[in-house]
């Protein structure tokens, strides 16, 4: 199939592609010379479109490799082999050795190419070589590329359903990245390991990793978003809903708000809905309106919880079981049963100031008065309702509602919000980027080209590289 596609491409597309790839080498050289990783971010910004073009034009990649690598280079033979071109001995022109940045970038492109063409077995073998290669380099300008390469290595293993074997390699990568203060790779490998553990449902392992490692503070925001999402998951499973909620909100806020990250946002929204429900809150209707189709099971679920309707809840659970299982949320969802009952009680307690236990039984479809008494007592204890039971006469009496404004609650809420605003301000100040002293003089000279360059870079960073977001 690849053969056919290769033949079908017009030479002009191919040439364009070749120039495009070679153009990015310039940026990579710049990054290496200036020790400025922002140039690499810029290269990655173009990676998305490039990748789609590349998927159909493996030929172009082969040509680039052919031109780039000298004949005595060890990588040359296998790179050409996987891109589907035999090594034709051409004239012995002398080529300088390939820079590590460019070398790794080429490897990354080959990875992407193989992945998009679904040649997983080959990719897997290719990855072994890449891992070996990664070990041989130690340059800070490679951090970004390395982080990305690890992502694709891990993704390959995931697709061929071989999650265990990659762990040692990831862990050793994490160790060397941490030792070298390579934040990008460290952050990337931490998230990959977490994902790996969670896919195997080994929450304990994931928890241990979180406890033992320190997530780099200034990692890219897309990685931070991912990290928070996994933290939210771990905490939700361990019943710590309030911290889970904090993390999932942080994850959605940090996630890039572009078309490419939709999958991630959707997964995060689903998790956040469930966590909110588990905490006894009802998510806002607006949330569902935005992306109605994929959230339908969750919408129905929310409806059932909001109404306190146990029967509807069971129906929803049965009907959408597959959907919940696919999202790995089924266990969390099945915990909601008790919340449905509690909401039922809450509704009753809000509408009646005094009601006999027997009526509660009838309304909630419970078996006996005695059971109703226990359940109501539990609800009171969990702070769901403010009420008391009179045992002799068998009724539940709701307590008069306190005037909230006479309590400390408004003050606490106010305090919380002010603190949030202040910390937001602090964070923004911290994350501002100031040009270094010598740079400033350059800009002052109205060096237009430099300024444009800077703007471009900023734009690239803003948009982030989001190509690899998936749910």
């Amino acid at each position: 199939m690849v053969e056919v596609e290769m033949n079908g491409t017009t030479p002009s597309v191919r040439d364009e592609l070749i120039t495009e790839i070679e153009l990015s080498f310039g940026l990579l050289h710049k990054a290496a010379a200036n020790f400025d990783n922002r140039y690499i971010s810029r290269v990655f910004r173009d990676l998305g479109p490039l990748r789609r073009k590349l998927a159909k034009n493996g030929d172009a990649l082969a040509t680039v490799i052919d031109r780039l690598y000298p004949h005595n280079s060890a990588s040359r033979a296998y790179l050409l082999e996987v891109t589907g071109k035999t090594d034709e001995s051409m004239d012995e022109e002398t080529k300088s050795a390939v820079k590590p940045e460019v070398d790794l970038y080429i490897h990354l492109l080959v990875q992407v190419y193989l992945l998009d063409n679904n040649r997983l077995e080959e990719l897997n073998k290719f990855n072994d070589k890449v891992i070996y290669l990664l070990g041989s380099y130690n340059r800070r300008s490679l951090d970004f590329i390395q982080a990305k390469i690890w992502f694709y290595i891990s993704r390959t293993k995931e697709l061929i359903d071989d999650l265990h074997s990659i762990r040692p390699a990831l862990l050793s990568a994490l160790r060397s990245a941490t030792l070298r203060h390579d934040t990008e790779t460290a952050a990337s490998t931490i998230t990959l390991l977490l994902r790996n553990y969670l896919l195997c449902h080994e929450v304990n392992q994931a928890m241990n990793l979180v406890e033992k490692t320190e997530f780099p503070e200034n990692a890219g925001s897309s990685l931070v978003a991912r990290y928070y999402y996994y933290l939210a998951r771990i905490n939700a499973i361990q019943l710590d809903y309030s911290s889970a909620n904090e993390y999932v909100i942080a994850a959605t806020r940090k996630a890039p708000q572009t078309q490419l990250a939709v999958g991630f946002l959707q997964a995060a929204t689903k998790l956040s809905i469930i966590i909110e429900l588990l905490m006894g809150d009802i998510p806002e209707l607006q949330l569902f309106r935005k992306q109605s189709d994929s959230l339908e099971p969750y919408f129905m679920l929310t409806k059932a919880v909001r109404l306190g309707d146990l029967k509807l809840f069971e129906e929803v659970l049965k009907k959408y079981e597959q959907a919940f299982k696919k999202d790995d949320n089924f266990t969390l969802v099945s915990r909601l049963r008790q919340n449905v009952i509690k909401t039922g009680i809450r509704i009753i307690s809000l509408s009646y100031s005094k009601i006999s236990l027997k009526d509660i039984c009838i309304k909630l479809l419970l078996d006996s008065e005695e059971l109703a008494e226990y359940i109501v007592a539990k609800a009171i204890r969990d702070g769901v309702i403010e009420a008391s039971i009179n045992h002799e006469h068998g009724y539940m009496k709701s307590k008069e509602l306190l005037d909230v404004y006479s309590t400390k609650l408004p003050q606490d809420d106010f305090d919380q919000r002010i603190k949030f605003c202040l910390s937001l301000h602090n964070d923004s100040v911290k994350s501002m980027r100031y040009p270094s002293a010598d740079n400033r003089s350059d800009i002052n000279k109205h060096n237009l080209a430099a300024k444009e360059d800077e703007m471009d870079l900023l734009k690239a960073i803003e948009e982030g590289d989001l190509d690899d977001f998936m749910d």
Binding site: E202, N204, M207, I237, Q238, I341, E373, Y374, N390, L409
Partner: protein
């Protein structure tokens, strides 16, 4: 060859329900297992049929270890054995078929029960996550696994009647090892109920309270009082004139009504400081 002898002896002791002796003999057996490289399934020692058979025997030994330490009240030991069994259970070569109503699910469910009786609910859910998502187990159709899962569900809902019915009736238990947890579970159950009662009622007749906590009516009020105070560690229960009055923690609610001025001042001061730094 001594391993075979020891193993045979262990089986025999286990069948005779000499659990303490099982414990003693297990230590040398484990040493032998290490010597034969059988304590842990790895890729190297599970590549032939014979080796897998050996591993299965090792697994059975550890299972006996887990059960016998549980039955001789050695909970730490039980926990250790469960941890040691884990790599065996997740090994696909030893357990190729889905497990249903086997010793494996029995031990896992006992472990779940153990976590529940110790009040380690978050660990319980972590385990559950693994079990629900594993193809090896089918919770809905496994009588062993279903038991702790349902128990937790009822406990969370406050459906104490169902739990009591299950616990009271020994025949409902899927196997005899569960009986071991009965006392702890009943105690935990009563504690839960008592906690709820405390919050719910202002006052309640003693006889009704006994009923709600599943104590026999003929028990004297004095013993009931001492059980409440000593075993369940309930404070603030006053026994008077055949009824119990609860001293609720309402004080904390009332305390909220008057805003704590010191708190307020310190908050405002910190805002002022921060704003100053911004300006």
């Amino acid at each position: 060859m001594s391993l075979q002898k020891l193993t045979a002896e262990l089986y025999q002791l286990y069948d005779q329900e000499e659990y303490e002796k099982c414990q003693k003999i297990l230590t040398p057996i484990k040493l032998e297992l290490i010597k034969h490289n059988l304590l842990l399934p790895t890729v190297a020692n599970s590549d032939s049929k014979d080796k897998i058979n050996d591993l299965k025997i090792a697994e059975r030994i550890l299972e006996i270890g887990a059960l016998s330490s549980l039955l001789s009240n050695n909970y730490r030991g039980f926990e250790n054995y469960v941890a040691q069994l884990r790599p065996f259970y997740s090994n696909k070569q030893i357990h190729a078929k889905p497990e249903k109503n086997t010793d494996q699910t029995k031990i896992i469910s006992l472990y779940l029960l153990y976590l529940l009786s110790q009040g380690l609910v978050s660990k319980f859910h972590v385990e559950l996550e693994l079990i629900y998502n594993s193809k090896q187990y089918n919770v809905e159709q496994d009588q062993y696994l279903l038991f702790p899962v349902n128990l937790e569900k009822h406990l969370m809902e406050g459906n104490y009647i169902k739990i009591w019915k299950v616990l009271k009736n020994d025949t409902n238990l899927p196997c005899k090892e569960y009986g071991h947890f009965l006392d702890t579970l009943v105690n935990a159950l009563r504690f839960e109920i008592a906690k709820s009662l405390e919050q719910t009622y202002e006052t309640i007749p003693i006889s009704n309270c006994k009923g709600l906590l599943y104590f026999p009516q003929e028990q004297s009020d004095a013993t009931f009082e001492s059980i409440i105070k000593d075993d369940l560690k309930m404070t603030g229960w006053t026994f008077k004139d055949g009824s119990i009055t609860f001293k609720n923690d309402d004080d904390s609610h009332k305390g909220n009504v008057n805003p704590n001025s010191i708190n307020l001042i310190s908050n405002v001061l910190s805002y002022a400081e921060r704003i100053e730094s911004i300006v």
